[in-house]
Symmetry: C2
Subunit: 403 residues, 2 copies
Amino acid sequence: MAIENGHAVVLQEIDPSKLKITRTPTPSTLPSTTSLPFGIHHSDHMLILSYDPQAGGWSAPEIKPYANISLDPMSSCFQYATSCFEGMKAYLSPTSQPLLFRPEMNMARLASSVSRLSLPPFDTSALLELIKKLVKTEEKWIPRDEQGKALTGYSLYVRPTMIGTKSSLGVGASDKAILYVICSPSGPFFPPVLPSEGKVPGYIKPVKLLTVSEHVRAWPGGTGAHKLALNYSPGFLTQKEAERKGYDQILWLRREGREEVVMEVGAMNFFVALKRDDGDIDIITPPLDGTILPGVTRASILQLIQSDPTLFSSSFSSTTNPTPKLYAHETPLTMSQLDAWHSQHKILEIFGVGTAAIVAPVGATIVVPEYEQGIGPVAAAIRKIILDIQEGRVEWEGWAVGC
Amino acid sequence: MAIENGHAVVLQEIDPSKLKITRTPTPSTLPSTTSLPFGIHHSDHMLILSYDPQAGGWSAPEIKPYANISLDPMSSCFQYATSCFEGMKAYLSPTSQPLLFRPEMNMARLASSVSRLSLPPFDTSALLELIKKLVKTEEKWIPRDEQGKALTGYSLYVRPTMIGTKSSLGVGASDKAILYVICSPSGPFFPPVLPSEGKVPGYIKPVKLLTVSEHVRAWPGGTGAHKLALNYSPGFLTQKEAERKGYDQILWLRREGREEVVMEVGAMNFFVALKRDDGDIDIITPPLDGTILPGVTRASILQLIQSDPTLFSSSFSSTTNPTPKLYAHETPLTMSQLDAWHSQHKILEIFGVGTAAIVAPVGATIVVPEYEQGIGPVAAAIRKIILDIQEGRVEWEGWAVGC
């Protein structure tokens, strides 16, 4: 609601019934699955809508051919980084239906990011309805095998983005915005292992981590708990230096007095699996203290473990006998605590989790045992169940939502 | 230098000799000086150039009609906030020559921001040469009085901006960029006081500050020492809340143990003037510890004071007798220290300094004495000398650079 000439004006909410679909006259084809690195290709169409209080609120949504966005050089997103986004994946179910994984969690997080940046609010269920229509329109962009069937680990990555478009150099909130959703067909996040590397089938290369506390990803009172564009670029310089030194990702730490607090792994949530004296396993991740991104995969793993400690038993490799129970904990983690557990031989595995990578094992640097598969049995079991749910092979509390 | 097919390829640096100027067929006119709020209007032309290693490096620079920028929705600046900028002002000298204030400091800071974001580097003197040409082209956009003479406090605000334009959702540095410079004719940063408010002539309204430590502007290991787009939007929510409560700006604090460390005032550097026992005055600002923007106005004030403690004597109002000497210090400041000085009646004035506001007095909240002019005598003296140098009435070490 806005005030105009002394009268309250009701501003238009996002209205999916006003959706206009304009199809491209020159559709492209999905690149070969062997050339699908993360986030390079885009599909034929995008969803786009804009907010302008002077124009009455949210515009009629449009699905139209993928195209450039044209903005005033003064635009808020260029000058003051008023941008936020979401990462979602559309998988193909065994019956070839496009599935989104817990998309209402992404919508809620986007709304929270938008609010943190003082961007114009939006109706989350209206946006989700439109995203489902976009995914349905772009269905053929979900990678599949030669029989047209689902291909595990492949998906159509969906990237909702909101940018502030107020044209003013005044340092303040943007009351105008563009909300757009683009799709990118993507293979597994981490590059496949070549046969020449002599690894066992299904080997997943562990991530080599560089611990960093000189540059800090997030801090209490900062924006680390929101999915803002601005949380990422400050890490690029450090990431480049890490790669030059032969590392894959950063383990982001934060100094607190004499301690180094563990926050995240690159753009993933951090998990450690600890052997308990009774043979079962503790799964620990830092709590959502304002410096940690509330990951959908993170929350799902915690909820699955909490629902039933034996849920993952059937997914453990047969060599583990008796199969351990898993127990989940959200506990602040410090490097000295990890070192102590390491010298007590308690650390079974460390892994990062996120929408793009799902579950990625951590190798070297933080010394953890080496596994023939690259990925350890705990991370592998968790990864298997999450993927089974995401790809619609296992139904779990309606988490996989059809489009 | 890049490597291509095993050969080293020298990439093109910015080359001012390749500048192409295309003048608008429809030039606009400068708005009335009574309607020049900060950062709303733009001049006729912009400077633009782009960097692409695949296209050989920096493109030929162009001064062309002000126009939208068209970008791929995947662009790095939208997705990961790879944007940085500078704020400069072109003043009109008494002989009507456009002057830039210490522009090489802005160029060096932009280069440092670009490096912090892993954006492509550029030749700072080549860019400055081009900016001078742009200012010369836009000369008529510097506000002036009816006789065409300089109008104190008015200027053409110059905003160099660099944005990352790599089209990829991969979380990493952008190897492509657009560098553009736009100009905005601007009146005094703070709105003029109306006659109906019954203030003395030349009254400058003190800024009402809300102290904030729940949201934190910058932190050790963060990006507060660089002029990145991303340092600003996290403050918009807090700024909105402050305005709703009747405050003008935020005093950004950072908790360190039990202390609240003072960082900045809105987008200005923080200065406090303290009465010494000998009648002279200490001018204190926090040191450049990585959380403080290295402001050009900040550095200039410190250098002026350090060059001669009596420099400002002639600018003090005649009521101050004998005129005090000023001594500058870079010292960490905490709220408890300010409170202690306040109860010892030592605090003469608090003010913010920056390119846009120059020198802005702080009133209420942090209790400082009230002055009839709004601005206190120390801040007024500093403001006068800085403006005298910036507007070319006083020559000082070549700080005002002709275009």
